[in-house]
Amino acid sequence: MFWHSFITKTKHYGRAIWYENMKEWRIELTYKPDFIRGMIDPLVYAMPYLLYGIALVGGRTSETLKGLVGTDDLITFVTLGYIFVGFINMALWAMGWSLRKEQFWGTLESVFVAPVPRWVFALGMALHSTLHQGLMIFLQIIVINLIFKLTIAPSGILPSLLVVGLMLIALYGFGMMVASLTLIFKQGWLVSEALSGIMMIITPIAYPLAVLPLFMQKAAMFLPTTYGVMTVRHFLIGEQMGFTVWTAFSRLVVLGVVWVAVGIMIFEIIDRRTRRTGTISHY
């Protein structure tokens, strides 16, 4: 009886997640020029960091960087780091902004009265943004590789994908929390912008963790992106991390469980609160 009910519910929720994902793709593809532009964006985002690095050292290698992480190729180091900005954007903008977008379109109330839990709706958004980000990152790597010739260890690709998969689970939880916050703050882009600013600083994207002040280094240990970016760079270019691969994997698992639990819990609390106070349709 339990299993039958569980399987029926899972199928039911799975279908809702899939349709939410498809809805997002349809809306995106309605604005084709905007979709194409979105594909080019990550490349344009990463370039100032690369060119700034070259301007500082007068080439693509840095002895100071080598002393800190064991690799001197700043271009490969920064490019691999910058991929994770896409994942941060996925959690904070694509997922975090999702409910506010529905409000703009005037469809939030219709979506919320559908007979599925609200977190299912957020997971649909997560599926869409994961696929979208994956496509963008793929293009970004190809183009930067054509321009700068990145040097990575091919044997590190598979374990890197595993790390990214684990990190995504934690980011989904984070994204759900941010999405629900927009129900309270309304001007939700501010929440996304502030959190993405903080995450972009304390996640060691374009620099090693060691150059951050100590309190930021400690805060970075609670972010899945920190382990994601450092472990991927460890597998692909041999970054010295200061912790073992096993530690990275186990912490990612713990962070995944914690962030998903926190994300769902906060989402449920805020959802209930906004409906009780009658502010869900407030603008």
Partner: protein, 275 residues
């Protein structure tokens, strides 16, 4: 409509924008801090790559070895640019979200006058933010911004903005036509980041150096950094000022004409109320 009436509309639009800001007071605090959050990664990257706050390679490109004031000035000046891009360029799209675009367009007012009101409001808002940023940069981050340097810097900023607001008004017309302009604003932001010296010296690559020459922001930033970092006198920046004035005239005229053309085209296509 008379000039006096136009001024009343500009004032009414200004007051409307201020009322919206006051509804979200946290935004003012956020915009005073946000540019520093964008600057911090560049400071940490600098430390990771050169081990300190100065670089000989950087001096060869910019004349100053200190990259911290370089990125701080870029962040402050870009506040004006991005506030104009969002607050003016994307303003008619926001009216669509609020459901008030049609009222503006069918009122017996020239939409350009409404946009001038929005422009004035954005200028004031950005100036408040940049003033707060300048205070933080001067007192906490060691930026050498003396009173004697403020007037010439302000002249350059004004020359930059006159032309830029012309461009933003044209962009507002573009949003009437293509609707979903949010992403295009982001792309423009990053075109400015990539092809003008906001975050790095464009001289580092021949391609960026060449392309940056058509963006007024490049001339303004080089002049402002010359005044603040290299103690240059504004009188020695005559060529830059002339280029900015010429660009202002071109951008204002083309901005106005482009907006009128796109507004007419949208009305003819009957897509004004479409989402």
């Amino acid at each position: 409509m008379s000039f006096k009436n136009d001024l009343r509309i500009v004032w009414a639009e200004f007051k409307k924008s201020v009322k919206i800001w006051i509804s979200y007071p946290i935004m003012l605090v956020f915009w005073a801090i946000a540019p520093f959050m964008w600057v911090l990664p560049f400071i940490f990257q600098g430390k990771a790559l050169v081990g300190g706050l100065s670089s000989a390679a950087f001096k060869e490109l910019t004349g100053s070895p200190h990259y911290l004031p370089f990125v701080l000035i870029g962040a402050m000046v870009s506040t004006y640019i991005f506030s104009g891009l969002w607050g003016v360029g994307n303003s008619l799209r926001e009216e669509t979200y609020w459901g008030t675009l049609e009222y503006i367009i069918v009122s017996p007012t020239n939409p350009i006058v409404v946009l001038l009101g929005k422009t004035l409001a954005e200028f004031v808002y950005a100036t408040v933010n940049v003033t707060m940023q300048a205070l933080v940069a001067t007192f906490f981050l060691g930026l050498d911004l003396t009173l004697a340097k403020i007037f010439p810097v302000f002249v350059i900023v004004l020359l930059l903005l006159i032309g830029f607001y012309g461009f933003a008004i044209a962009f507002a017309g573009f949003t009437l036509l293509i609707k979903e302009a949010h992403g295009w604003v982001h792309t423009l932001e990053w075109v400015f980041y990539l092809f003008s010296p906001i975050r790095y010296p464009v001289e580092v690559s021949t391609i960026t150096k060449t392309l940056s020459a058509v963006i007024p922001l490049t001339y303004a930033l080089v002049a402002i950094r010359g005044i603040i970092l290299l103690n240059k006198n504004i009188l020695h920046l005559g060529k830059t000022i002339l280029i900015l004035i010429i660009m202002d005239i071109i951008l204002l005229i083309t901005g106005y004409l482009t907006f009128r053309y796109l507004e007419r085209k949208t009305k003819e296509a009957g897509t004004l109320a479409q989402y």
